[in-house]
Amino acid sequence: MPSAPPKVAVYKFSSCDGCQLQLLNLETKLLELVGAVEIAYFLEARRRVLPPPYDVGLVEGSVSTPEEEDRIQQVRRDCKYLVAIGACATSGGIQALRNWANVEEYARYVYAKPEYLSTLETASPVASHVFIDFELRGCPVNQYQLLELVSALLTGRKPNISTHSLCIECKRLGNTCVLVAQGKPCLGPITQVGCGALCPKFNRACYGCFGPMEQPNIPSLGQWFTERLGHTPRDMKRMLRLFNGYLEPFKQASEHYERKEKGG
């Protein structure tokens, strides 16, 4: 163990703060965490800010404004390890839906005075801007994966974060498949594990908030959904474009279904 606890920084970019809240929601483990590391920069949790450099930086949120574009560069310089946490930081998040639309038009709908906004054409994941050392998927991230990540960094071991399908975890937990037994359009077979199969556990179809698994076969599942379960290409596009729509290969597949929707 190092003599001084490692300094941890938690950054917020364009996001809903939900992933930072997952850290604060650790409850009993939170005290342990605060004992094991020095919270050097975490504006949502404490006012005190220690100067960089930091050992570990956790970044929540996508890069969506010119200011953020610059700030992420400084964050990278300040942190020894940089970890993107959550769907926004790893894929662009739900705000990346605007990447397929006209930002100015969106802004006019939402804001009374859109001229005060300074925003980029696209919302993009952190990895599009700087090198990241690791990423945790999910909307929001899973708190046990957060703990596992920090525990592994502290011990100097590889974090046990799996990249296979959600189905494997879902079956391990003893859930009955909602796709096979209820015909629900579950994205589990193409989605990365990590959430604890939360939705199928409550009889809901997975909506892919952990993003694509390693080597997903989206065309095959899409064929089953459209030909057997009666979903349209538009349904497919919308299913893929939710929290991780801008992350490959969900992005490419959603564009394929968009072309099909338009009769291409």
Partner: protein, 391 residues
């Protein structure tokens, strides 16, 4: 209890009204009962306490990627076949803590090992499951340095030793069943303590072991009539003829060996999701990974075993990188293991014909169809290459 000993190998009759006595007898012997119960629209093997929890008057409708429960004959209790899980989940748990220790000064102090082995009685084990248990006994229960067999697992051996198996023969095979092709069903051939065949008024009970005979002593059994025995036999005959699927088994090993580079694999690779569902529901699949964890302090260490799958790309990582980089490679590996290389490893087939991999595949990939495609491909490719058949 009577003085009359019930002989092993005999057949008895248990009236339906006396079925509940099984529960009482098992509870008296200290067993926790695992039996069929409907949860989330499927029949799952899970802890149950009485007959009332068992499904009654329902049957299953199974096909590739499809499972639904429907109304059946109201007076029958076992008209469905296997659901998504089975005894494997208990003998070889999806997640098993292996040990826990903490760092104390300069040494490691062991805090806990694997959990205490429960004493389980399984009620409603299907013949294909018995065959699968026999396969896993070869995987986890035997030591043979001469072959590639895994080393025996103490936890598995203990829980198997304790477990009592009450089988139920399948009078109505499911849509994806093909046990008759392997000879593993629909009638249990062995490996059970008691085996029941359901008739309208009750069950013909085959006594398969001393433990089963001792249990039977507690039940209001009577000798079955000739008609009842004949009806039970007839039901088995009918079931054999009504399998949902078929697999030509005799020369599979040769077929899988010669088909390694067949283009048919590309076709199934386009459909396979590599999601691992088939391996999770398969009653013989035994892949697992051992994962070490440490807490924030770095002082509390755990080692846990999880089910894993040959369809997981990450699972194939070795020091030289991933072993099977494509879905084609992973599906081929799985099918070849089940139908071919399993024989080299364990001297038996890795498939028992339960049909789960077909039903629970999200896109309905059918092992029997894929084997048939390879078979047709084989004839076609041989013809093209001018190889005479039957050499």
């Amino acid at each position: 209890m009577t003085d009359q000993k019930i002989p092993v190998g005999s057949r008895q009759f248990l009236p339906r009204s006396a079925f509940e006595e099984l529960f009482a007898a098992l509870h008296k012997e200290g067993y926790s009962i695992v039996g069929p119960k409907v949860t989330d629209g499927a029949v799952r093997m899970q802890p149950i306490g009485s007959v009332a929890e068992m499904p009654q008057g329902i049957r299953d409708n199974q096909d590739g990627g499809f499972y639904r429960l429907e109304e059946g004959e109201p007076e029958l209790w076992f008209e469905y076949v296997v659901g998504p899980n089975g005894p494997k989940e208990f003998f070889f748990p999806a997640q098993l803590p292996l040990f826990e220790f903490h760092v104390q000064g300069g040494r490691f102090d062991l805090d806990a090992g694997p959990p205490q082995v429960p004493k389980l009685a399984f009620l409603g084990v299907r013949p294909c499951e018995l065959a699968a248990i026999d396969v896993q006994d070869r995987v986890f229960g035997r030591d043979d340095p001469g072959t590639f067999r895994c080393e025996s697992e103490p936890w598995y051996l203990q829980i198997r030793q304790e477990a009592l198996l009450i089988a139920v023969n399948c009078t109505r095979p499911g849509g994806t069943c093909f046990c008759a092709s392997w000879g593993t069903g629909p009638e249990a051939a062995g490996g059970y303590d008691l085996a029941l065949t359901e008739l309208k008024d009750g069950f013909v009970v085959a006594v398969g072991s001393k433990r089963g005979a001792a249990l039977a002593e507690n039940l209001s059994l009577r000798a079955p009539s000739g008609a009842e025995l004949e009806l039970a036999t007839l039901k088995m005959e009918l079931a054999r003829e009504h399998m949902g699927r078929q697999l030509e088994t005799p020369d599979l090993k040769q077929l899988l060996n010669e088909s390694i580079e067949f283009p048919e694999w590309d076709d199934v690779a386009r459909r396979c999701l590599s999601c691992g569902n088939c391996t999770m529901v398969c009653p013989t699949c035994f892949c697992c990974t051992v994962s070490d964890g440490s807490d924030l302090s770095g002082q509390e260490i755990t080692r846990t075993r999880f089910w894993e799958s040959c369809f997981s790309h990450q699972f194939t990582y070795t020091i030289a990188g991933p072993e099977r980089n494509t879905i084609r490679g992973r599906y081929r590996h799985w099918l070849r293991h089940k139908l071919c290389t399993w024989w080299d490893q364990f001297e038996c087939s890795g498939c028992v014909g339960c049909g789960r991999c077909i039903t629970w595949c999200p896109v309905g990939i059918d092992l029997t169809e894929e084997a048939q495609r390879l078979r047709e491909g084989s004839t076609k490719h041989k013809k093209r290459l001018g190889v005479s058949h039957g050499e």
